[in-house]
C-alpha cells in the first residue's frame, strides 16, 4: 500500500494538490493512504524549498508546484510497481 503525504500549511495550492492526489489514486484504483501534513515542524523535516509538496513512501516526488492529474497518476503507478 502506498503512503502518500501532501505537505502544506493549508493554502490553496496544498488543497489543490490533495485533490489531484485523490483523483490520481481513484483513477488507478490502487490502495493508498493520503495524509495531509500541515505542521511546520514536520514539513521542514523533508528537505524542500517551497510548499506544496508530494511525498510518496517517504520520497519527495514533487515540490513547489501543483502537478497535473496525469503526471501524478504516472508517478503513483511507478511507485506502486516498485514497492508492492
Amino acid at each position: 500500500m502506498l503512503t502518500i503525504k501532501v505537505l502544506g500549511p493549508g493554502c490553496a495550492n496544498c488543497k489543490a494538490l490533495e485533490g489531484v492526489a485523490r483523483k490520481a489514486v481513484d483513477s488507478l484504483g490502487i490502495e493508498a493512504e493520503i495524509i495531509k501534513v500541515e505542521d511546520y515542524a514536520q514539513i521542514m523535516q523533508y528537505h524542500i524549498l517551497a510548499t506544496p509538496a508530494l511525498v510518496v513512501n517517504e520520497k519527495v516526488v514533487v515540490s513547489g508546484r501543483v502537478p497535473g492529474v496525469d503526471q501524478v497518476t504516472s508517478l503513483l503507478a511507478d511507485a506502486a510497481m516498485q514497492a508492492p
Binding site: A12, A16, Y40, M44, H47, I48
Partner: protein, 490 residues
C-alpha cells in the same frame, strides 16, 4: 436614517467603481498574470542558489531582495519560503531581508501602488523597502551572530542546486511586462487616437448619465465616477469571474472550453480598457488609441508564445498560479475597497489631519502602529492609504503605514516565531516599526523639499554602520572558527 444608509452605499459603490476604472484594470489584470508567471516560470533554485552559506554578503543580501520581488506575492507563499530559505542554510540576515522585502517589493504591490496613488510613492516604497530590508537583515544577523554560527553547520545541498529560467519563459515574462507598460504609460504615442469610429448606438450618453445619478462623484475630491466604459468593464469582469471559475478551477484535470472562453474574455477586457470611449447624443465615439495597438500586439505575441513555446506544464502552471492569486486577492480587494468607501463617509478629515497631517515622528508612528495592529488582506492597504491621503494624511506617514501594514499581522508574527523563535520574531517587529517610521520621515522630508542628495547621504550613513559592523563581526567569528579547528586538529 435611510438617507445615511444611502450615502454609505454610494460611498462604497463609488469607491469600488473608481478602483475598477479602466486605468486600474490595465495595471491590475496584467500584474496578476505577471505574478503568476513569476511563480510558475521562474525556478526557485535559480534565485536561491545565491543565498547559500558560502555566498559572499554582497551577493546574498541583494539576492534575497531579488528573491523577495520575484518569488513571492502573498503571505501564504512568503512565510513558507522564508522558512525554507532559513532552515536550508541561508543566514538569518538574507532570510530576514527576503521576509521584509517580499510583501513590499513584489510586482502586484508596486504596480497597484503606482497605478492608484502615484509612481513617486511606489518608487519610494521600493527604494526604502530595499534599503531597510537589507539593513534590518544585517542588523538581525549582527544581534544574533553567535546563534547564526551554530545554525550554520547545517548547510544544505539545496542551495547548490542549479536551475535556470528557460528562455521562452523569460521572454513570456518580459512581454507580459510590456503589456503592463503599454497599458499604463502616459506617453503621447499611446494616448493619441489614431482611428476613430462612431457607433450609431443611441442611448449610451443617457446610460452614462443614469449611472452618474446612481453613483454620484465629487470631481473636486479627485473621484472619477463610473463611465459607460467603466460599467461595460465591470460587466466583463463579472463574466471573467464566472467563466474562469468553470475553466480554471479544476485545470489540473484538464482544460475545457470555459478555459479558453475565460482567457479570450480577459484579452477582450484589456483591449476594451485600452480604447477611448465618449458617448454623445445619437451614438458614441470609439477611439483606437496607440495604447490599443500596443496591447493588441502584446496579446498576439503572448498567444503565440503560449501555444508554440511554453511547455504544457508551464502553460497550466501559469494559468493556475495566476488564477490562484486572483481567487485569493481579488474578492477581498473588492470587499475591502467597498468597505473603505463606506468608512470614508464616516471619518472626519480633521481627525486625520491632527494626528498625521504633518511629517512628524508622532504622525509617522501613528501610521506604522495602525498598519501593525490592523490586519488587511493583500493589496487592500493601497485603497486604505488612498483614503487617508484624501482625508488629509501627509505623504510621509502614508508611506510609513504602507511599509508596515503588509509586513506584519498577528498571524504572520505567529508563523515567523515558529520558524525563528519568539525572541527573534519580536526583535524583528521592533526593527520594522523603527525603520518604517524612519522611512516615512525620510520620504516626507523629500516631499517637503529636502534635496535628494542630503537624504541619500543620511541613508548611506545609516546603512553603513550595520554593514561595517557585520563585516567586522564576520571576520572575528571566522578567526574564532579557524582557531577552534586548529586546536581540535592538534
Amino acid at each position: 436614517m435611510p438617507d445615511m444608509v444611502l450615502r454609505l452605499l454610494q460611498g462604497g459603490l463609488g469607491n469600488l467603481a473608481a478602483y475598477l476604472a479602466a486605468h486600474v484594470l490595465l495595471c491590475l489584470v496584467p500584474a496578476f498574470y505577471i505574478a503568476g508567471a513569476m511563480t510558475a516560470l521562474v525556478p526557485k533554485e535559480s534565485v536561491t542558489r545565491f543565498l547559500g552559506r558560502s555566498a559572499p554578503k554582497w551577493i546574498a543580501y541583494p539576492g534575497a531582495a531579488l528573491a523577495g520581488s520575484v518569488l513571492a506575492v502573498c503571505s501564504c507563499t512568503i512565510v513558507p519560503l522564508f522558512a525554507g530559505i532559513y532552515k536550508k542554510g541561508a543566514g538569518l540576515g538574507p532570510a530576514i531581508t527576503f521576509l521584509f522585502f517580499a510583501p513590499a517589493g513584489n510586482i502586484l504591490a508596486l504596480v497597484y501602488t503606482g497605478g492608484v496613488i502615484g509612481v513617486d510613492l511606489a518608487m519610494a516604497r521600493l527604494v526604502l523597502s530595499l534599503t531597510f530590508g537589507i539593513g534590518i537583515g544585517m542588523i538581525m544577523a549582527l544581534i544574533f551572530s553567535r546563534e547564526d554560527l551554530a545554525h550554520d553547520r547545517e548547510s544544505d545541498a539545496l542551495f547548490a542546486g542549479q536551475g535556470k529560467i528557460r528562455r521562452a519563459g523569460l521572454i513570456f515574462l518580459l512581454i507580459l511586462v510590456t503589456l503592463l507598460l503599454a497599458g499604463t504609460s502616459k506617453i503621447g504615442l499611446l494616448t493619441n487616437a489614431y482611428i476613430q469610429i462612431t457607433l450609431p448606438i443611441a442611448g449610451m450618453d443617457s446610460f452614462q448619465d443614469a449611472i452618474y445619478r446612481l453613483v454620484p462623484y465629487d470631481a473636486s475630491k479627485g473621484q472619477e465616477g463610473v463611465t459607460a466604459q467603466g460599467a461595460i468593464l465591470i460587466g466583463l469582469l463579472v463574466l471573467i469571474g464566472v467563466t474562469s471559475w468553470r475553466g480554471l478551477n479544476r485545470i489540473h484535470e484538464g482544460y475545457n472550453a470555459w478555459t479558453w472562453i475565460a482567457m479570450s474574455l480577459v484579452g477582450l477586457t484589456v483591449l476594451t480598457a485600452a480604447l477611448g470611449m465618449s458617448p454623445h447624443a445619437g451614438g458614441f465615439d470609439v477611439q483606437f488609441t496607440g495604447r490599443f495597438y500596443g496591447v493588441l500586439l502584446a496579446l498576439a505575441a503572448l498567444t503565440w508564445l503560449m501555444f508554440k513555446r511554453l511547455s504544457k506544464d508551464e502553460l497550466r502552471d501559469w494559468l493556475w498560479e495566476s488564477w490562484r492569486f486572483v481567487k485569493q486577492i481579488f474578492p477581498l480587494l473588492v470587499g475591502g475597497v467597498f468597505a473603505v468607501g463606506v468608512i470614508r463617509v464616516l471619518i472626519k478629515p480633521e481627525w486625520i489631519e491632527t494626528l498625521a497631517g504633518q511629517n512628524t515622528i508622532l504622525g509617522n508612528l501613528a501610521g506604522v502602529l495602525f498598519g501593525v495592529f490592523m490586519y488587511f488582506p493583500t493589496l487592500v492597504e493601497v485603497p486604505i492609504a488612498n483614503m487617508f491621503l484624501g482625508l488629509g494624511m501627509h505623504r510621509g506617514p502614508l508611506l510609513a503605514y504602507l511599509m508596515a501594514d503588509p509586513e506584519l499581522s498577528l498571524q504572520s508574527i505567529l508563523m515567523i516565531s515558529v520558524v525563528i523563535g519568539r525572541l527573534k520574531a519580536w526583535v524583528y517587529v521592533g526593527w520594522v516599526v523603527l525603520f518604517s517610521t524612519l522611512a516615512g520621515l525620510i520620504y516626507g522630508a523629500w516631499v517637503e523639499g529636502t534635496p535628494l542628495g542630503v537624504l541619500a547621504m543620511y541613508l548611506g550613513v545609516l546603512m553603513a554602520g550595520p554593514g561595517i559592523a557585520l563585516w567586522l563581526v564576520g571576520r572575528h567569528n571566522h578567526r574564532r572558527v579557524i582557531k577552534a579547528e586548529s586546536r581540535s586538529a592538534d
